[in-house]
């Protein structure tokens, strides 16, 4: 293209270059020659090329892109079409809402809560409920359609029963009034507990545990007929129902990491610090009673040999260090 450079230099001689609208000139030309108008329109579209024809001349990737976006749009349409007529959402502020589901189950939605439930049970595999806030359920027995309540991180599965879901101080409280329900973590279905009639289960920091006496007051006392502690296993062991554990055991089993990061550091930010380079076994299961004060919990962890601590800058501050005896 050396030629191009020399031609470009000749452009210096062109003093004034104007670009005229060729389209209108071409129309004028056609008028003069007496060619029909439609022909001209055909031609102009041919030369300009419609955007679509340009796209389809490009490599197959463009075709794929268009196909993918069509599928996406169709998917959205399908979603909305499917979701809207079959499910509905109820939100309460200061009122209490009573919902009668199509299968005969009754839900009483408490104040400031939100509940999504199905209107139709025709082509579904379960009765899926999504709840935020608190509600009391009275589920009609239906062996084919399990009643599943998604409550944040917790999944409650029942066939037919009455139970209450509530939340207090970041702790999920599930209280079973009659029948039998299965409670599990949404992300980890193996972390599962079975609740017998009258039992209550708490959920916090990814762990289930059985309420201590103090929590009884949270749940309506009239409904706590026989509150027996459940078996306290590690989250991974399969649920061992029907064998009430020894009532002497105090506290619940947590992972050490959850206790320190999810509880002690989270709720006592200014009081508790972890010394740099502190090593502790994150996955050890520790048994503590989270209703105790943080000083007591720290002491418990120290006596169990999981960590050590020393006084911090202020009177009630502590710094967590590596366990003394291990090394």
């Amino acid at each position: 293209m050396k030629k191009l450079d020399s031609i470009l230099k000749q452009n210096k001689e062109i003093e004034d270059f104007k670009v005229f609208d060729v389209d209108s000139e071409w129309n004028l030309f056609l008028e003069k020659v007496g060619e029909s108008q439609p022909l001209m329109e055909d031609k102009s579209t041919n030369v300009k090329k419609s955007p679509l024809s340009v796209i389809f001349r490009k490599p197959i990737i463009y075709v794929i892109t268009i196909a993918a976006s069509f599928i996406l749009i169709l998917g959205f349409l399908f979603m909305f079409k499917n979701n809207d007529p079959y499910r509905t959402t109820v939100i309460t502020t200061n009122n209490i809402e009573k919902i009668n589901m199509i299968d005969g189950s009754k839900i009483e939605l408490s104040q400031n809560s939100k509940l999504e439930y199905p209107l139709h049970l025709d082509d579904v595999i379960d009765r899926k409920i999504i709840l935020a806030g608190s509600a009391t359920f009275s589920v009609k027995k239906n062996d084919k359609l399990p009643f599943r309540v998604f409550y944040g991180d917790v999944l409650v599965e029942v066939l037919g029963t009455e139970f209450v879901i509530n939340k207090k101080d970041g702790m999920t409280i599930i209280q079973n009034i009659s029948g039998k329900i299965a409670v599990s973590q949404v992300l980890n279905r193996n972390n599962k507990r079975i609740l017998e009639k009258g039992e209550t289960l708490l959920f916090k920091f990814g762990n289930f545990f059985v309420p201590q006496d103090t929590i009884k007051t949270v749940v309506e006392e009239s409904k706590n007929t026989n509150l027996e502690p459940l078996q306290k296993g590690t989250p991974k062991t399969k649920s061992q129902k029907e064998k009430p554990s020894t009532p002497e055991v105090k506290g619940s089993t947590f992972k050490l990491d959850n206790v320190i990061k999810g509880f002690l550091l989270k709720f006592h930010k200014k009081k508790i610090k972890v010394e740099r380079g502190t090593k502790f076994d994150k996955n050890t299961n520790v048994k503590i009673d989270i209703n105790k004060t943080y000083q007591e919990i720290l002491l418990d962890l120290k006596t169990q040999g999981h960590i050590d601590f020393k006084p911090g800058d202020c009177d009630d501050c502590f710094i967590i260090t590596s366990p003394a005896k291990k090394q």
Binding site: L8, N11, I14, V22, K43, N46
Partner: protein
């Protein structure tokens, strides 16, 4: 020996390709854009009306150039009185130009204008200074107070664009 103007579709392509270069070429001698447009339009109408008889021995470009040049000379002769101030530079036109090389700068210029159409004023200026005025990169960088690197970038980008524009041009750079 071909008959390149028989088909209206091909004719339109040729028309769109050469209309602006021809008008600007004629304007150089007539010095009036309206009249130049008339001359070029007249030329095309004449070619279309005689499309069955025309047999082109060289390329469509050189044929178009020759016919336009003749129309222009006719026009200047006819309007000699009105165009007293326009002097026909016969030296330019008498050169035997079989392949229409005189038209090349105008074709390139049209491509340049197309490329520069949506470019910023700055890159336009850089390009014109370098390619038309023949300034070096250093001189442009100094003149516009920008880095030499940015001058180079601007010009190389535009050149790629320009070559793409010209690649589809029939009987050009063959």
């Amino acid at each position: 020996m071909t008959k390149p103007f028989e088909n209206i579709k091909d004719f339109e392509t040729t028309y769109r390709e050469y209309y602006n270069p021809l008008v600007n070429f004629v304007n150089k001698y007539i010095n009036n854009f309206e009249n130049s447009k008339e001359v070029v339009q007249f030329t095309f109408v004449k070619i279309w009306e005689n499309k069955d008889k025309i047999e082109v021995h060289s390329s469509p470009k050189s044929y178009l150039f020759q016919v336009t040049k003749n129309s222009m000379i006719d026009y200047i002769r006819k309007n000699k009185n009105h165009l007293s101030n326009t002097e026909l530079d016969t030296n330019d036109l008498n050169i035997l130009d079989d392949n229409g090389k005189q038209l090349d700068p105008y074709i390139v210029r049209q491509a340049v204008e197309n490329c520069l159409k949506d470019k910023k004023e700055k890159s336009r200026e850089i390009f014109i200074l370098n390619k038309f005025e023949g300034l070096t990169y250093e001189e442009i960088a100094d003149y516009l107070r920008i880095s030499k690197r940015s001058v180079e970038d601007n010009i190389s980008k535009l050149l790629i664009h320009l070559k793409k524009e010209l690649r589809n041009h029939p009987d050009f750079f063959d």
